[in-house]
């Protein structure tokens, strides 16, 4: 099952995909209304708790950034100011030279996890969605790197479009990922190439912090991150999970 959260006609609604009479995919809201995709504002598809992100979790991306493998997973956190849903906007500050997307499998916790074991870690997962974890590399500094100014920017964590039930994803370690910028494929990867896979991440994290319902783990991105410019449409896709679209917006739209 796939679930969305959308704003429509003054309210916030749970919604499911629904095939319209035209044959196009629309949405059925929980209250029974049938609406077209473009009629709603897409929100992150669940109530988001702690946002945990991984850096350097794909061997190919580590090579791309000329880093050596970490001893422990490189974990950082993001705040709720960064969240946007499907078809959202993310601001590119004027004058920066390198802002890039990161297509990531987002793992949503559904049951409290504390000292979970790899073998049964997936029992704590409610589902999955696509994440786009933006960074502005011009702002990277070497203190608690990646620092918040580079990563924790408003609109810099796109999540969606749907939360896909864990039961519909037999193996989160067997999914293809790709990103398209204006329709051209710029990033491809496969979740089998994660350095620390999903069960191991849940074991690692829950050994030192309690994971709760709604916490989300952004599991890192493979190689192929390129600069994006104002007006670009960025589409992050994960096999069986969804296609998450985002548009890069200019400072002027934000009164800057």
């Amino acid at each position: 099952m796939k679930r969305a959260r959308v704003a429509y006609a003054g309210g916030i609604h749970a919604a499911e995909p629904h095939t319209l009479e035209s044959g196009q995919t629309g949405l059925r809201l929980a209250d029974g209304r049938i609406v077209a995709e473009h009629e709603v504002v897409w929100l992150p598809p669940f109530e988001v708790g702690t946002i945990i992100a991984l850096g350097l979790n794909y061997a190919d991306h580590v090579k791309e950034l000329a880093f050596t493998k970490q001893e422990d997973p490189l974990v950082f956190l993001k705040g709720p100011n960064t969240l946007v849903g499907h078809r959202g906007l993310t601001r590119r500050p004027a004058g920066v030279s390198f802002m890039h997307y990161e297509c990531e499998l987002a793992v949503v916790i559904g049951r409290t996890a504390r000292n979970a074991r790899k073998a049964d870690a997936l029992a704590h997962v409610a589902g999955y969605c696509v994440a786009n974890d933006y960074a502005v590399r011009d702002y990277l500094e070497n203190w608690y790197r990646p620092n918040l100014r580079a990563k924790n920017r408003d609109g810099a964590t796109a999540l969606g479009p749907y939360l896909v039930d864990a039961g519909d994803v037999p193996d989160p370690g067997n999914l293809e990922l790709r990103t398209l910028v204006n329709g051209r494929v710029t990033q491809t990867g496969h979740t089998r190439n994660m350095i620390t896979d999903v069960p191991a991440l849940i074991e690692y994290l829950s050994a030192f912090m309690t994971l709760s319902c709604g916490d989300v783990i952004l599991t890192g991105t493979p190689e192929g991150v390129v600069n994006v410019n104002v007006g670009d449409t960025v589409t992050c896709e994960i096999e069986g999970i969804g296609s998450l679209q985002n548009t890069i917006a200019a400072d002027a739209l934000f009164g800057r």
């Binding site: 702690t50 956190l77 705040g79 918040l148 100014r149 709760s212």
Partner: protein
């Protein structure tokens, strides 16, 4: 999380190296690898919801950890959405102030985010209550004292902040929006006092009361 009389959003940011004593402590290594330069933007970190604790809660010292750092901080509670504040008027966005005890497993490197060291369950007591901004006066002239088992271990003052409260709010909200109920802890003085399981730690900030917690052993 509620800290009377406010419902906090549960979002808590901490600030590294924002007390002159803390910045001075890294002065010698700051221009060497891996840092290569002093920080330009405020260096922030997140204390996630699993870390939140209240006055009088017991904070668990993890296994195989001897001591914890007990960082006494002034916490700024936002009263409204705050984006691109100007330092002149930034304090208008503040609802009040609260004590934050920022607890960490001691660490010498600030190169990578210290999530496993700063984000253990219960590592961010906040309380005992939020005091309204108008009752506090100048947030850049508040004494902060850290006590361990009744012994005064640190006496600091917010007048020694690298970025005073309003300037910090301006610089932070230039790149991220804060919301009503978010807490920004403005930084600890150096060296940060340490305490062990079985000890009671208390942080006092002038006008904000006293936030006390006992450290317990892992069961």
């Amino acid at each position: 999380m509620s800290v009377p009389p406010y419902r906090l959003s549960g979002v808590v940011y901490g600030t590294l190296l924002n007390h002159r004593s803390a910045l001075a402590a890294v002065q010698e290594v700051a221009n060497q690898p891996p840092y290569k330069a002093l920080p330009r933007a405020p260096v922030l970190y997140i204390k996630p919801r699993n870390t939140l604790a209240s006055h009088a809660d017991v904070v668990t010292v993890p296994e195989r950890v001897e001591e914890l750092e007990v960082g006494g901080c002034l916490g700024v509670v936002l009263g409204q959405a705050a984006c691109r504040l100007s330092a002149d008027t930034a304090l208008h966005a503040v609802a009040g102030y609260v004590i934050v005890t920022d607890i960490s497993i001691p660490h010498a490197s600030f190169y990578r985010p210290s999530v496993p060291l700063k984000c253990r369950d219960g590592f961010c007591p906040i309380g005992p209550r939020v005091t309204e901004r108008t009752a506090v006066g100048d947030p850049d002239a508040l004494g902060i004292r850290v006590w361990v088992d009744g012994e005064l271990k640190q006496s600091a003052n917010t007048r020694d902040l690298v970025r005073p409260v309003a300037q910090l709010l301006a610089d932070v909200t230039d790149f991220m929006t804060l919301s009503a109920g978010d807490v920004l802890a403005v930084g600890t003085a150096w060296p940060v006092p340490r305490a062990r399981a079985g000890q009671t730690v208390a942080v006092e900030v002038d006008g904000l009361g006293r936030l006390e917690n006992r450290l317990g052993g892992a069961s």
